[in-house]
Amino acid sequence: MNIEIANVSVAIQSRRIIEDVSLHIQPGQIVGLVGPNGSGKSTLLRTVYRMLKPEAGYVRLGGDDVWKLSARESARRSGVVVQEAPSDFEFTVREVVQMGRTPHKDALSLDTQTDTALVHAALERVEMTGFDERLFSTLSGGEKQRVLIARVLAQQPKLLILDEPTNHLDVHHQLEILELVRSLGITTLITLHDLNLSATYCDYLYVIANGGIAAEGSPEATLTRALIQQVFRVDVIHTKHPSRDCLHLVFMPLTDDRHDEPPPQP
């Protein structure tokens, strides 16, 4: 599916949050959005899953502006895992995953064997088989995240949108979730706080700062020392990931003479 995000601008209560941003997303790629808190990453994602209407520019999924599509049709093209406070109403794991079928069902249609099979397969894919009847609220953080990914798999979207999927997870579960996302082979738009995770798991990065794109490209080309100093206000040493062929960054506070002397390299 063709994904076009072009010249998008967003204002919330007349404050400009996103200014003229265009993203190019190649099918099958994992595209990361990184940037400091408040840079507008999540706001940009919200325009893609039709929660926010951009005041200029457009988001097109499969050639159609998402705001010209029905909410349902848009939800058949993109699926989302957001960070949202859980409600006091208790659903079972199966019911949560079944929600993924919502955009595919008419008011009168009952769950078919296809739906049941998709829900089962999604749970299997995230290795949560057997948890069907557990209450979602009783799961651990990593299990919850996997169930939410199962829900989005049952939704069968062409584009996967993940907003900080590794938040509040321990390091084991952070890697587990991202390995899972990597293995799905679905075009993915993801926001991440951890630059090393973004360097390891993303094919292409956009660095968002002050509502605009500060840099874009492969992780190696994007996360330069100058950019990290300027956008993230920390100093950095570039190293190679010891076992994987990718960038690894070591951060430290900025010092006043930062522009005069390069930091000691190992």
Partner: protein, 353 residues
């Protein structure tokens, strides 16, 4: 994967049909019990003879027929309608604002109805027939609903928090007006304060056949519409962002839910007065039993709400006979301790999920 009926699914169907049977039995019981006891088989035969004329030879007196057909049956059926309506609208409103404490009265709807009714009772005591009373209550509920929704809006968006705050604030303001009207009316030689107070506590005593048609139709239409949108209601419980990402037009859906439930509540409150507790607690009891999925919660809530109010009305009529307790007092007095007991018995949670 072939879907086999599991014991859990079988138990849910058993619960559904069991409740239908219990409801029928409760309605017959409500018609049997009273100052003049009428045997249950006679009750059934009178009802059948009314529904299918000439099917059964008459072996009862015209008085017995009148008691069954003109008084007790419409009252029992009104209890069915009001109980189901409050319970269904409570379920929908809790999903609408994603708050387990929401009920038909959180949004000022009943306070608005109360002001309308009490105005008529205290200022126009002589002309306060059942219909002007219901009309005034309904108009009060309607105006309040519109005001609450307008206040809760901000830039075309209605958020759950603003809706609750607007509803609660208006509710308090309207309660103050109601209290003032009742106090002002309480003078020696006038019973309008007592009439107003008993209306406020809720009563099913004024039930007439003519009053059942419109609420019955609205209840049926609303319940069916809500059930058709069970998936969207479920998605809404998962959060606004999630619901939007699952293809729910949240703002439009919220407005539609609010209009539907307000209409339903306004209609039944206008006839029965402000009966509390049912709309708040029955949805929770149902979720205890069958989980949060609205495809199961809505029909079970409608049935259980109906059964509950029919039973409670029997108690309200008989406990201090020949006088009657306002049914709203009994719903809370019986239901409160029962609900606390259920909370205590956490093992009840999810037996039929």
């Amino acid at each position: 994967m072939k879907a086999q009926p599991t014991p859990r699914v079988a138990r849910r169907w058993l619960l559904l049909f069991g409740l239908v049977f219990v409801l029928l039995a409760a309605v017959v019981l409500a018609v049997v019990i009273g100052p003049v006891p009428i045997p249950y088989d006679m009750v059934v035969r009178i009802i059948v003879s009314k529904v299918v004329p000439n099917a059964i030879s008459v072996d009862w007196t015209p008085v017995q027929e009148q008691i069954v057909w003109m008084f007790r049956l419409p009252r029992a059926l009104l209890a069915v309608l009001v109980g189901a309506a409050l319970s269904v609208s409570g379920t929908a409103l809790q999903a609408l604002v994603r708050n387990p404490l929401a009920d038909p009265y959180t949004f000022g709807i009943s306070s608005g109805a109360s002001v309308g009714a009490v105005l008529v009772i205290t200022l126009a005591a002589g002309v306060a027939t059942g219909f002007t009373l219901s009309g005034a209550a309904f108009i009060g509920a309607l105006i309040t609903t519109i005001i609450v929704y307008i206040i809760a809006q901000q830039g075309g968006q209605v958020t759950p928090g603003r809706l609750i705050l607007a509803g609660v604030a208006i509710s308090y303001a309207l309660s103050a007006i109601t209290t003032y009207l009742v106090l002002r009316a309480s003078s020696p030689g006038s019973n309008s304060a007592a009439v107003a107070l008993s209306w406020l506590a809720g009563s099913l005593g004024a039930a007439k056949w003519e009053q059942l048609g419109i609420p019955g139709f609205i209840l049926l239409a609303t319940t069916v519409l809500l059930m058709l949108q069970s998936r969207q209601l479920n998605a809404l419980l998962a959060g606004d962002e999630t619901a939007a990402s699952l293809g729910v037009s949240i703002q439009r859906f919220r407005l539609q839910l609010f209009v539907l439930t307000s209409l339903l509540i306004g209609t039944v409150v206008a006839i029965s007065g402000a009966i509390g507790f049912v709309g708040l607690m029955i949805p929770h009891i149902v979720r205890f039993l069958v989980g949060a999925d609205h495809r199961r919660v809505l029909p079970i809530a409608a049935l259980l709400g109906a059964v509950y109010l029919v039973m409670v009305d029997i108690i309200a009529r008989t406990l201090i006979a020949p006088s009657e307790l306002p049914v709203g007092i009994v719903t809370a007095a019986v239901g409160g301790p029962f609900f606390l007991w259920m909370l205590w018995q956490r093992r009840l949670t999810g037996v039929l999920r």
